[in-house]
Subunit: 315 residues, 2 copies
């Protein structure tokens, strides 16, 4: 069966950790789990239809103009010079929405990646970025690529510029384990964005410059000490931590258990930390969970190396 | 003759390019030329005396509290637990003061490096950093290490943090040629600092984060395209370029001649650009000079790879 004759495709796209402490809106990386699944099917007419959404507790809109997957698909089709195409979309949410793990970006990426495959890959992988970004803009209230880029391209990605979009891939240490503690606090991306001031002090900026450089150096050298100390955030964490009960206790628990850095993933409430081994990751995850529970949070822990692949066809 | 019995030492410390476009106050690198020469001699009493300053057109103060070399030496001696030490200092300025090439930092570094050698190296090289920074503070009106660190340690240095000081060394591509165009515009570091606003927009900060990451990636990968495009500056260049007649014409001439990035070195007026070969560097230097002359600037051009050594004993 040739790909371009396939009528339906099921795609996994990875969840992502963005900001990574010092890199507000510029750096992110993909996880092996969790992620989102989207099933894209070609229709006989030219409509886009969201057939089904599961696993979202009713939080994801069926409205075509408000759903990141359908907006991304619509953006794709506007650029596609084929015959009129209609698409059915089924979204299987496997991770919490509003979790700070790029759930909405993953759905947008899975949808356009799947549609591109169904149509015989008229676009290169990196050309799909703008479509997914259009989708993501609906959820985040602005043009952002720090979740979309790693979800689509895999690995660690740096957004050098938006105009035009310029993504730099950064090598991920093989044994870089990421612990993600998700909790049941509800943080809406748009609201979390509004907590961030539009100006920062030059002093804070300088600190971020130094840490950005150190983080990238740490990734190139697989130097966990450098990575760990570069995870500092004077922009997002001071504001968004207020939305997460016990955040600093959880962070301290992670660091005391040996984590190389710990901060908020994206807009939160998910909290990420790094370790050098899976065993350490499990110890750190447990320590974080224990403190979170003492703050009455319900949590789920994910442990993952960096996903260097991006989206994956399941069937 | 044992080093610690030597009575007098002549030291070269390199000029440095700081900021490097995107890394305001955090990144810098050392040049092979120009640099400063300081002769340090032990006295029989416990006085610090500036014996002679040449090549400065009378701009460098003999006042012990206002001279970066003597302040650095004084800071060194306060920490040194030896008998009372007296030092004669002779400063031979080989590069223009107020040039944006870390002239004052180089003198401070050369002085403490020389004194340490004369005393049998009681301090490790990186321990000299704080003494040189104390000296540099007199010239720049604040604690800065972006010239002092590369002048002392050589290579490309990143200031991750000031409290406590944390310097990260970044590898320099072997064939990274730096063109420096010095001109006769007088820019005082302290005044140039005052042009910089104490807050920046988050949008500008994000751009700098992306470029910082890209610049470091470019250095690790010897990727000149990355290095070149990362040389963007929304903090210092827009303000300080106003002090340099024809700055944007000179910059455009460099880029049109094939430079990988071009911006102001430190506080200016020196302008730096990168190339991949010495031949290209010469072409770029000439193009920059030609435009500068049309703006009635008197110029001097230096071409250098990155100096990975730092200070050097001449005799």
């Amino acid at each position: 069966m040739k790909r371009n004759y396939k009528k339906s495709i099921k795609v996994f796209a990875p969840g992502t950790v963005s900001n990574v402490g010092c890199g507000f809106d510029t750096i992110g990386f993909a996880l092996n789990e969790p992620g989102e699944i989207v099933i894209v099917s070609l229709r006989n007419d030219d409509k886009i239809v969201i057939k089904k959404i599961t696993g979202d507790n009713g939080t994801i809109p069926y409205n075509l103009k408000k759903n990141t997957a359908s907006v991304a698909v619509s953006s794709f089709l506007k650029k596609y010079n084929g015959r009129n195409i209609g698409v059915d979309i089924e979204i299987r949410k496997k991770m919490p929405t509003g979790g700070g793990l790029g759930s909405s970006a993953a759905s947008a990426v899975a949808a356009v990646y799947g549609l591109n495959k169904l149509l015989g890959s008229p676009f290169k992988k990196n050309e799909l970025l703008n479509f997914a970004m259009d989708g993501e803009a609906i959820a985040s209230g602005g043009i952002h690529a720090d979740n979309v880029a790693p979800a689509l391209l895999g690995g660690i990605t740096l957004i050098r510029d938006y105009n035009p979009i310029d993504i730099i891939k950064i090598p991920a240490p093989k044994n870089l384990y990421c612990i993600v503690l998700h909790s049941n606090v509800i943080v809406e991306t748009k609201k979390a964005r509004k907590l961030i001031k539009s100006e920062i002090s030059l002093k804070s900026a300088r600190k971020h410059f130094g840490n950005m450089g150190t983080l990238i150096a740490g990734f190139y050298e697989s130097d966990f000490e450098k990575i760990g100390k570069a995870i500092e955030d004077e922009i997002s964490e001071p504001a968004r931590s207020k939305l997460i009960p016990g955040f600093y206790d959880i962070k301290n628990a992670a660091l005391n258990a040996g984590a190389y850095g710990c901060s908020i993933s994206g807009s939160g409430p998910s909290i990420f930390a790094f370790s050098k081994t899976k065993k350490d990751a499990e110890v750190i995850g447990k320590a974080m969970g224990k403190v979170a529970h003492s703050h009455n949070l319900k949590t789920k822990t994910f442990i993952s190396t960096v996903n260097n692949i991006g989206p994956k066809i399941i069937s």
